[in-house]
């Protein structure tokens, strides 16, 4: 990262840090969503962007994180700061399980992606039938009557905003750190050419499992946030295929395998969606599906014209050097 990039990043982080002072409730909620998707995109990117493993079932890990932490809170009064460890453990274990099954049996590429979808669908249907998790009727976290209990992540939108800001920045830093670690180099090698990677001493199996576990555990943390931010969970929503796709969009649009890509993707996508929704409402064209239709068009346009994502292109334009640092 050159000096210019460092200054820009500091400015960006600074602006986000003071945003609640000027932003109203609505803008704050949009920013919270942006950061949440940026965070999840970052977590997904560890698998796809770094290690070259396409997961189309990341809703599974979001959902496991959300449900485990929420159920612990609802049933035993265990707060999210403790519950998040259980959540990460559960998702990490699920990731390891899928990884071990998949990689041991040589399930690769599209087949592996389908395996991830299958497991997330299995989770969706199973959670629909598990009463302890509220079943299809949903699991609800009581909203604190007195307005705040930060220790249990019950509080104002500002509290949530800062929590997700810290998470997103933390994920950014972690991604950078990982990418420049021994493990990160090995992931990149596997992404580029598994056979050549193996020839220079990379143990494909453990490195791939590590990618799935790290990605799953990070994603679960985003799920914990979701559970306490929205206070209600439905399997139909949490584990849906659509959610998995929403998670991967920012990273794809921003740039797969880059550290800033998911952030940029979320910054582009979420407000675009909001503006679209607003424009459609104002113009009286508020038809179901129109917004998603535009998302689809945006996706196709991006993969056709900017297949590496917007970030590498923007980074060059801003004179920030190679976009992958």
């Amino acid at each position: 990262m050159n000096a210019r990039a460092a200054v820009l990043l500091a400015l960006f982080a600074g602006a986000l840090a003071v945003a609640p002072l000027v932003a109203d409730r609505y803008v704050l909620s949009v920013l919270t969503t942006v950061l949440w998707f940026a965070y999840l995109g970052q977590a997904w990117n560890v698998m796809m962007g770094f290690a070259g493993l396409l997961s189309l079932g990341h809703a599974l890990y979001v959902g496991l994180g959300a449900y485990v932490s929420a159920a612990l809170f609802v049933h035993f009064g265990i707060g999210p700061w403790l519950g998040l460890w259980a959540a990460m453990l559960a998702a990490g274990a699920a990731g390891a399980f899928i990884g071990v099954l998949g990689f041991r049996f040589g399930v690769r590429g599209v087949h592996f992606a389908l395996l991830t979808i299958a497991f997330s669908e299995v989770a969706r249907i199973s959670f629909d039938h598990m009463a302890w998790f509220g079943g299809s009727g949903g699991l609800f976290i009581p909203v604190a009557a007195d307005g705040g209990d930060p220790l249990n992540l019950r509080g104002s939108p500002t509290l949530f905003y800062y929590v997700i800001l810290v998470l997103a920045l933390g994920a950014l830093a972690l991604a950078r750190l990982l990418l420049h670690s021994r493990l990160g180099y090995r992931w990149l090698a596997i992404r580029e050419d598994p056979e050549a990677a193996e020839a220079v001493g990379v143990d494909l199996f453990t490195a791939r499992i590590a990618a799935v576990v790290v990605s799953a555990a990070l994603t679960a943390l985003g799920g914990v946030f979701q559970a306490f931010y929205f206070s209600s969970l439905f399997p139909e929503q949490v584990f849906s295929m659509g959610r998995s796709i929403e998670i991967i969009l920012p990273a794809i649009i921003g740039g797969i395998g880059t550290v800033f890509g998911p952030v940029l993707g979320a910054v582009i996508l979420t407000p675009l969606g909001e503006v679209l929704a607003w424009a459609l409402e104002v113009s009286g064209l508020d038809l179901p599906g129109l917004k998603q239709l535009f998302y689809g068009v945006a996706l196709v346009v991006i993969v056709v014209y900017r297949p590496d994502g917007v970030w590498p292109w923007l980074a060059r334009r801003l004179g920030l050097g190679a976009g992958d640092r």
Partner: protein, 303 residues
């Protein structure tokens, strides 16, 4: 539903053998349509080497095509099938020519994402045009049943299944006997070799994508005899086709048909023996099992 512990394995009172046979038979007929849809996916994957993520959307488009033709012209879905097939053929042809073709050499995940975008556009276009509510077709034989030995089958299911067999047979014949079909097969086996001997690969790819789209469109028109058309069905059918193709073996045409029948029957049995909402779960478990034990599918070849 909350707080109501649902037993996944409900005790079912003992029923006659004939009753079970009926369930298997109607599952088999539905499975033939599933198989036809999966056949379209398999054809495209086998030749163009691209996984059509918009497959379910095309199928639902076919369903709506039948609904439209039935409403406007009173056309029976079985008769509407050729028209719908023609429209989807052109759509598939153009999709391959204009978009997918430039992704053939790109990494798998980029192809996936491109077709995900196409699927999103199609799905929401259908939602915009037809709305979220179910649409159905009315046929005079809608409630008739046919007695076949110990079996009592819905006439719609019988007709749909028979039509699916006819279309599948035509497809097999096309690939086995026609010049173009053979050229496409050569192109699937060895694209480079096919180019060397002077085959127009881009045209054959477009043709294949068109054929695959037409086939799934026909599956949609037949499906509408059994199930009301809703946009929300599309992702379900995409996943279902994937499952079937993988169970049967990617790129194997008989495999797709076999997988379809297998999934159709197992769905019917699971929906009957377990609770109906668990029937898809069963399909996913079959998929996971096949991926682990025989990743190349039942009739697939090891790569």
């Amino acid at each position: 539903m909350a707080g109501n512990p649902t037993l996944p394995f409900q005790r079912v009172p003992w029923m006659s053998f004939d009753y079970h046979l009926n369930i298997v038979a109607s599952g088999l007929l539905t499975g033939l349509i599933y198989g036809l849809a999966a056949l379209g996916l398999s054809v495209i994957f086998g030749v163009v080497r691209v996984v059509n993520f918009a497959h379910g959307e095309m199928m639902v488009a076919g369903m709506y095509g039948a609904v439209l033709l039935s409403g406007l012209a009173g056309l029976d879905p079985v008769l509407a099938a050729p028209l719908v097939a023609a429209v989807l053929f052109v759509f598939g042809w153009l999709l391959q020519r204009r978009l997918v073709n430039r992704f053939v050499e790109r990494p798998e995940h980029m192809q996936f994402i491109l077709l995900l975008g196409v699927a999103t556009i199609l799905l929401n276009a259908l939602l915009l045009v037809f709305g979220p509510d179910s649409r159905s077709v009315q046929v005079p034989y809608g409630f008739d049943t046919v007695e076949l030995g110990p079996l009592l089958l819905d006439e719609v299911r019988l007709r749909a299944g028979a039509a699916a067999i006819v279309v599948a047979a035509a497809l097999f014949a096309f690939f086995r006997f026609s010049r173009t079909g053979k050229a496409i097969r050569a192109c699937a086996d060895n694209p480079l070799g096919a180019r060397v001997v002077g085959l127009d690969i881009d045209r054959l790819y477009a043709l294949t994508f068109g054929i695959g789209s037409a086939v799934v469109g026909i599956a949609g028109t037949l499906m509408v005899l059994l199930v009301d058309a809703r946009p929300q069905l599309a992702p379900e059918y995409t996943l279902l086709s994937f499952i079937i193709v993988i169970v049967g073996g990617l790129g194997s045409l008989p495999g797709a048909l076999l997988g379809g029948v297998l999934i159709g029957v197992s769905e019917a049995l699971a929906g009957f023996l377990l609770t109906p909402s668990l029937k898809t779960l069963f399909s996913y478990l079959v998929l996971i099992l096949v991926l682990l034990v025989r990743p190349q599918g039942l009739l697939g070849k090891r790569s």
